[in-house]
Symmetry: C2
Subunit: 313 residues, 2 copies
């Protein structure tokens, strides 16, 4: 097994590229794929201030590392979700990485700052934990970006994540979600721009990247996610990928190039209905936004309106 | 376990309906679901002459049985594909059923009538067997229907089949196929109308139907199909159905109601380009139709132009 580029002994094979790579050229491949995704979808301008959402897992730490190496101005944001030891361990990984790379880590703690945690919040709101968690994270990422004067929020969703989400949305033909499942969501209606620079890289590659770069990440899956549907969709796609390498890539990028546009009108119509939440100011189509309703049900502190950063942008 | 309808002991549970049924009410459910599909999609008029494509398997024999019971004028069509013992056995099942129900079975034999069989035809045309077979069947179903003066060709595709085909088309975003993956294709450009009355019933239900009705069908899968992608897609969807009963139904019917229309334009544009094949007269977008090219490559007899039935319709 030899590296496709230099013919030295290879350390990893990537079946969908039908190629093997040595450490040096694998790391280069990862950087090139991220640069290609950023360029292809116009994700980040060199002058942008980027906030990367960091969970302490392989994807978000690798993304932070890659964006720093590519020369972007990027800080990390860690959200404490109050999921017991898992949250403590993941925070420690995020802090250790920040210290090692001398990068800035912004921290928000759900129990301290908002008075609830994901396990009790989900129960109170009668949502599955992953739903309550996703909702909280989306709101707080936006808020932290706006308050910190960041232009872009970057998340570590990789190809496996995006293909699995797409599969879930297609299985139920959630046409409104299909219209906005894109690697870039432009800034609009009070939302910062959101980008997913890892869409050209798979889960296994991100783990290998961290190992080769000596990045110490939390290996365990979140304990609340065990048995969720998303993991079932990943399993189903993995089974197909084994027989037909490249299936996930073709599924996701084929969607972007040949199908996404067909679902756009609905998402655009929904966007036109957005107005500021009377409680926190975040854009919503409902009377009060879903986050504020969740916080109230969970018995937390009602969020105060977003304070836009007055500092230099 | 009791029947949802009569509370007598049940013999089958259908998880996606969250219900159990006795033999009598399960058979009624099957008839009702077929009648519902026929009505919902305007598949068959009582005055129509129907030709059901019969393979000797559970789906096509059950379909023939159900359509006869529902009072339609329906003959069977058996295509001998020259797949060794499998073809002989499946033909015997089709003949036995026809005799038992005193129904008319039209027979076409690929080796005798066209000078090739699927295994050698596929090799010669460098197609996977299922592709050469599907192509041959579609052509010869159309031809037999037109020559016999039938209004409709009915095939035994069940919910599992359609969901798996849809999954395959979505995985690769074959937008032109998505635009015509419908339970009814209207008669047009020399094609007879084509209908799939079993789309509301699953594979397991069709097997149970045959057992309860004493229909003796060929149980083996076609030996040429072993390991094909379609079976992989079925496995993937089955794994999801176990966790979320009703997923396949929602996937297929959600597509029909909320997505199919978005892919229609491409299929319509393709239809506008159809013209008669100079060799056999069947509609095609190419110079010579794919079937005639396959026959020539396989060294068979070039098909003669279709002779439209002059008998009463």
């Amino acid at each position: 097994m030899r590296c496709r580029v230099c013919r030295q002994p290879a350390v990893i094979d990537i079946r969908r590229h039908n190629a093997n790579f040595c450490t040096e050229h694998f790391l280069k491949l990862c950087r090139d794929q991220v640069a290609k995704a950023i360029g292809e979808f116009d994700m980040i301008d060199p002058s942008d201030r980027v906030l990367v959402a960091v969970s302490g897992g392989k994807d978000s730490l690798a993304l932070w590392d890659l964006l720093l190496d590519l020369g972007y101005q990027v800080d990390g944001l860690y959200l404490g979700l109050g999921i017991g030891d898992y949250s403590h361990a993941s925070r420690d990984h995020a802090r250790a990485f920040a210290q090692q790379r001398q990068a800035k880590l912004v921290e928000v703690d759900l129990p301290t700052d908002y008075g609830y945690d994901i396990p009790t919040g989900a129960k109170a709101a009668r949502r599955v934990p992953c739903s309550a968690c996703g909702l909280s994270k989306r709101h707080l990422f936006d808020r932290a970006a706006l308050e910190g004067g960041y232009d872009v929020v970057a998340t570590g969703h990789n190809l496996d994540d995006e293909a699995a989400v797409l599969f879930g949305n297609v299985l139920r033909w959630h046409t409104e979600y299909l219209g906005r499942q894109l690697p870039v969501l432009p800034a609009a209606n009070g939302f910062p721009r959101k980008v997913k620079p890892l869409v050209r890289l798979g889960e296994r590659e991100m783990a290998a990247y961290c190992v080769m770069r000596g990045i110490d990440y939390i290996v365990e899956e979140c304990p609340m996610a065990v048995g969720n549907k998303h993991l079932g969709y990943k399993d189903a796609l993995n089974a197909i990928e084994v027989t037909s390498p490249g299936s996930k890539h073709d599924f996701y990028f084929g969607f972007l190039s040949r199908a996404a546009e067909r679902f756009r009108s609905q998402a655009t119509a929904e966007q036109a209905e957005l107005h500021p939440c009377p409680s926190c100011g975040a854009p919503t189509t409902a009377d009060t936004c879903a986050f504020c309703r969740l916080v109230v049900r969970a018995g937390g502190q009602a969020p105060v309106p977003v304070q836009l950063s007055t500092g230099p942008r």
